[in-house]
Symmetry: C2
Subunit: 121 residues, 2 copies
DNA sequence: CGAAACGTCAACCATTTGGTTGAATATCCC
DNA sequence: GGGATATTCAACCAAATGGTTGACGTTTCG
């Protein structure tokens, strides 16, 4: 069920939607109340909420005539994990790996570290 | 100089671009070599690289007739920090904060926790 | 010099996105 | 029932996105 990273990241790419998420951090909110601080129409906010829902970042539950919006942190967490994993691989490759090379192959020929043409024909 | 989160997140929203980033994790690469595994045109990849550059996620340096692409982890890290901070605030608000409320205001009127209309006119 | 390799630019196209407005639907309350 | 409230739907629009192709400028190499 985990929504694709595509959906999560593109949902996060809009400042209005990031603001909405931070608003929902404090409390669950009704659609009308989410829309209140913004200058755009209610319909526009409704669409934004649809995008966030589709990305799994929030859920919406209708109670009576009011639709409550609730933060769903799991989707965010998944993307966060991706980024952290990426960051760790990066740290691994660019730092630890080079250090490893220099230690392991100590005194090897003066390779130009970090620059290696892949697939040179 | 830190590029806006908008640019970073929307750059990350495309799977082709995420793949490119992961390729650059291993090594700096020439534009042509980045394009090689993909089925789209070189021009399309060139545009993707432009988007990544614009977001600050990579840098490009021309040496001779070859333009080398290099991962720039800082921009990614900034977005990662945003997400982690968000996650931490979430943990704070939804768990600790409610526990705090219940403890601190013990036995208060039966507030319906988590439901508060802001700006009721 | 001239051809090949590297990469971008410009024009074009289809689709998506983010916004609008006005009508429609559902619920609450008198 | 009927009016107010809450929210979405549908149609529309402008701009951005992701792709194509073909022409163009640079740099290398024979």
């Amino acid at each position: 069920m985990a929504p694709a990273l595509d959906l999560v990241f593109s949902a996060l790419a809009d400042p209005t939607r990031r603001t909405i998420l931070s608003m929902l951090l404090e409390d669950d909110m009704a659609v009308t109340d989410v829309a209140e601080p913004f200058e755009m129409s209610l319909a526009a906010i409704s669409k934004h909420l649809g995008v966030l829902t589709n990305a799994g970042l929030i859920s919406q539950e209708k109670r009576g005539r009011v639709k409550w919006c609730k933060l769903e942190p799991d989707a965010l967490r998944e993307a966060s994990v991706w980024m952290q994993a990426f960051g760790q691989m990066e740290a691994l490759d660019l730092d630890a790996f080079e250090a490893f090379l220099e230690t392991e192959l100590e005194g090897g020929a003066q390779r130009s570290v970090g620059v290696a043409r892949p697939t040179e024909g």
